[in-house]
């Protein structure tokens, strides 16, 4: 068993892989984070908001995210540096440093959106995976496009894919742990949709779930089934081809029926077959495909 686990670990994290994987991951993470950050241009002004609004934020929580009384001018400089670091990461300029700076500043700025009222972390804001992913890429060796396959190109991508899968897996586990199998029932899905069709907002397709019990049951069972099986996409290329469009459809349906937007949907592309794309790209350029790159099937 130990040998089998060790073999699976080696195959998952340290098989030889093309350099395109971590480069693609860096591009996707930087682009996704930059989109969100540029969509919050006043983020750095928040510490300058009336102190009454900040009064209930515990000092320990501020320290945890390095929110110090430095004034909004310094925060604005930091926000500018964050945008520059993300652009540099996107373009592959000093990639390790730019990823590290971007991840550090994202860790600081991401909680701003929720810190006035909640201390559970901004896990819904879309910057959780970019923070972790960009740190991981800054710790790993930077591959050059066209360089030889290496295990050093594999583990950062596999770990980021794993963290993406956890977002779905843990959400499924939480539903079953906190509510139980009843979460998937028609009653619960209907009631959730009904609750979200409140006075102030009305998701355009919410009434479908309320009016059609079969759809509500399919949504409940389908959601949990997909969330629990998502992790398979990290281990199997075939599973990835099923899971990627299914998860995208789930995210879009969640927005239309429940009014909940998942800003990380573009990061589903992390599950692309990067080694296959690399081989295709090399073939088009008239180079020999790399025999050293093995398939992505682990289990």
């Amino acid at each position: 068993l130990t040998a089998g686990l060790r073999g699976a670990w080696e195959q998952l994290f340290f098989r030889s892989a093309a350099p395109l994987g971590p480069i693609g991951a860096r591009t996707l993470l930087c682009a996704n984070a930059l989109w969100i950050v540029l969509s919050r241009p006043d983020l750095a002004d928040l510490p300058g908001w009336p102190p009454e609004l900040w009064a209930r934020v515990p000092p320990g929580l501020r320290c945890r995210y390095f929110i110090l009384p430095v004034g909004t001018a310094i925060e604005q400089v930091a926000y500018g540096a964050l945008c520059l670091a993300l652009v540099a990461g996107l373009l592959g300029l000093v990639p390790r440093l730019s990823c590290f700076v971007a991840a550090s500043l994202l860790y600081h700025f991401a909680p701003f959106e929720e810190i006035l009222t909640t201390s559970t972390g901004p896990y819904l804001g879309g910057l959780t995976l970019p923070v972790l992913g960009l740190f991981i890429l800054s710790f790993a060796r930077t591959p050059a496009l066209g360089s030889e396959p290496s295990p050093e190109h594999r583990w950062p991508l596999a770990l980021v894919q794993m963290l993406l899968a956890f977002r779905y897996l843990f959400a499924g586990v939480a539903k079953l742990t906190l509510t139980g199998p009843g979460w998937m029932s028609v009653e619960n899905v209907e009631a959730t949709a009904l609750l979200l069709m409140t006075y102030e907002t009305r998701p355009p397709w919410g009434h479908w779930l309320v009016d059609h019990p079969a759809l509500a049951l399919a949504a409940g069972v389908g959601t949990v089934a997909l969330e629990l099986s998502f992790i398979g996409a990290v281990f199997s290329r075939r599973a990835a081809w099923v899971v990627m469009p299914a998860a995208l459809a789930l995210d879009l349906l969640a927005f239309q029926t429940l009014g909940v937007a998942f800003l990380n949907a573009p990061l589903l592309l992390l599950l692309l077959d990067w080694d296959g794309i690399d081989a295709w790209w090399r073939a088009r350029r008239g180079r020999e495909p790399r025999p050293a790159v093995s398939g992505s099937r682990v289990l």
Binding site: P41, D42, E52, E113, L132, W183, L195, Y199, E200
Partner: protein, 205 residues
Amino acid sequence: MIHVLRLSTFLAFVGLGLILPFVEKARRRRIWTNAFLAYVLALNGFVALAQTDAWPFSPYRMMAVDSRARGVERSMVAFRAVDERGREWDIEPLAWSPLFPQAIMGWFEVGFPRATPEEREGVGRFLLERAEEARRTRRSGGWIGNQRLLGPLAAPDTNLSRPAREAPEGPLVGLRVYRLFWVSETFLRDPGSVRRVLLFECRGR
């Protein structure tokens, strides 16, 4: 104390990772990489099993609540702006960018009950000024708040917000904060069944 502990789990992640670029020998590098991978996976496993927060390591408790209880009266905070003629208007959801209305609602749930009358007045005036600024921007055809740079391509809030139906010509001079009460099942049949109670009102200077 708990925040120090959570910060230390994050700093350990960064500290372990920062060792990797400085380890050149293949065998030692593999050992440190394995240690880093094991730490990240174990910490994720811990927060998922314990259902605790250690952001950026998260248990992702998205929509995990049991909503099956029927006939329960729900409540939420809602905002209305008032013009010079005393008419009520919707407030632009992006008026308080970078925060979305949900975050401000959260302050009225958590911070407002414990705030002094002066603090409430200060917050109310600030929110009213921002709402009036958003009204003027919208009337002049500009993009508001979070849409200032990317326009309609800007990333939305996690929670869907209804855009303000229209903006008045004249300035907004007051802010009213209501608590709304409704029963979901009844609301679907009769949207007028929502009961609202004035929680707070403030006037501009």
